[in-house]
Point group: C2
């Protein structure tokens, strides 16, 4: 079936606030390095009040991925909720300006646009505190099902599971995309998120997801194991493709009985790992929807992730298409 | 007279939107590279709608300088107007988070917080389009004269001259600081700004300003000459100290008949010149209010400017105190 969109994503529409912090700050505020914690508005404000100066930029896991697909030249669409406030305007501008379609109407009352305080430590790790704000008001009524039906791949972030209406929106969209001959991709998002929703994710991964993205921590959390090898054995065969990222060890792409080991790209000093997983998925999905081999998809994902970790923030500031020409052209 | 503040600044309270652009974009929109143009809200929105994704961060010329003074360990205060909107909250957070005092109450109605679209071209030049928004509603009634009276140096940006109430606020503050034994510093801000207000600046510089900051273009614009040497001859003796910055040629500090030539610092690849003049002033004023020699003040200014041009955005992301220890310790 001919499709007008390569990848359509559904996720939380978030503006990131990037702040440099040291380990003592992370510890003093009871945060767990490398993870995402949900906070309410009052907690978000308390933490913001005591942290250093920030850089604001559009974020959101699936939104970063879809922006990346668009930057690579793919036909990308994003569905997510902002409010009609200044940060909502920034979010909408940024994703549209790279060529992605984003038409979800903003809310006009209620909570403000979602904000994620990202504390970047000198070891380049990011620790996130997310106030979901308007993004949790995404519900099935917000879905542009016409857009979803036109997607080769529908991409969803596990973070949506933290909101019951958003989760229902996802499941409705997944049914539509499959009914129209498309495929469903899921990112597990975060180890704690997986632990919060393990049963639901397990059921989903076993038969309802075509492409699964997860890092080592997340896939181990899904199967409640400390052994990556055991997790690999368990996920193999559950979905058509599982792409498992392992930071400086690169990634492992599983399809049936076949495994591809993909080397990481080190393009410069490691500055901020924010967006690494999101950009891996962007590169992978762009290759996938262009009909590339799984190994080529993995390399493209690895390359995009390798770029974004050399800069501050989750969306590449340099041209991804130039990057591809340089390294894979 | 003992003072509780080293430097207090008055300026436009602005949030910057940093966008990478090429020369064709600058030309297509009738902009002049390297300058600041004032735009109304509709123009600002039109331009924003067609440009690439942005990074938002606190800016404003004098605000950048005062943030820099605070980051260097100086006692800094800033006076400027934001609205009580999301960008206003970001501005207030960022300047307070580095230790500067900022207590000007935000407006609760009227135009939104000022925004400056900064187009950064591959040659690291920045071209600015400023929507002044709430910042122009700064008037003498907003002045914290108690704060001003406690300043060793009152620092003002020439951009204030674009607003009649802000200009009046500045003149009122200058009278207060001088009456309390403090000194007045002025930055000429921008060549076009100087041309818009030449007569007023000339009168001011000749006797009412103790420390003058200008780049080569601005000081030439002030004396309507193409010759830097001629401008130097004309400004010499007008104010106690004139610090004239010359990009890759470093700076020239004049005091009476004495001249100090200060070499530039090249700390890394040139990425974005936004904030270079502001951080030069920060370093200079910090040295000055700590009683350092004019040559040492120039070196400190040069060092801070040398750092900020290696990063995207107008306020240093790395520690200025560490930088000083490394290079001047």
């Amino acid at each position: 079936m001919s499709k007008n969109f390569d990848v359509v994503g559904i996720g939380n529409a978030i503006v990131d606030v990037l702040v440099q912090a040291d380990d003592a700050f992370i510890d003093a505020h009871g945060l767990t390095k490398g993870t995402m914690a949900l906070v309410d508005e009052a907690q978000a404000e308390r933490l913001y009040a005591v942290c250093g100066p920030g850089l604001e930029t559009s974020g959101g896991s699936a939104a970063n991925t879809l922006a990346g697909v668009a930057q690579l030249g793919g036909r990308a669409g994003f569905i997510g909720r902002v409010r009609n406030d200044q940060l909502g305007g920034i979010f909408a501008h940024d994703i549209r300006s790279v060529g992605a379609r984003f038409e979800t109407p903003p809310t006009t009352s209620g909570p403000s646009t979602a904000r994620c305080l990202i504390l970047v430590t000198p070891d380049a790790q990011r620790t996130m505190c997310t106030y979901l704000g308007a993004s949790v008001t995404l519900d099935p009524a917000d879905l542009d099902l016409e857009l979803v039906a036109q997607a080769k791949v529908l991409y969803l972030e596990g973070y949506l599971w933290d909101s019951e209406p958003a989760k229902r929106a996802f499941i409705a969209a997944a049914e539509v995309v499959r009914a129209h001959g498309g495929e469903v991709a899921l990112s597990l998002s975060d180890g704690f998120c997986v632990e919060r929703h393990r049963a639901s994710f397990l059921e989903l991964v076993d038969g309802h997801v075509d492409l699964l993205f997860a890092n080592e921590l997340e896939i181990c959390a899904l199967y409640a194991t400390d052994s990556f090898e055991q997790a690999v054995a368990l996920v193999r065969g559950c979905c058509k493709v599982a792409a498992l990222t392992r930071s400086e060890q690169g990634s492992l792409v599983l399809a049936g009985e076949v495994s591809h080991t993909i080397a990481p790209y080190q393009l410069g000093p490691l500055l901020d790992t924010t967006g690494a997983g999101d950009l891996y998925a962007a590169g992978f999905l762009h290759g996938y929807t262009q009909g590339q081999s799984l190994e080529a998809c993995g390399r493209l994902g690895s390359l995009c992730a390798g770029l974004v970790v050399t800069q501050l923030g989750p969306r590449p500031q340099a041209s991804l298409q130039d990057l591809v020409r340089l390294h894979l052209g």
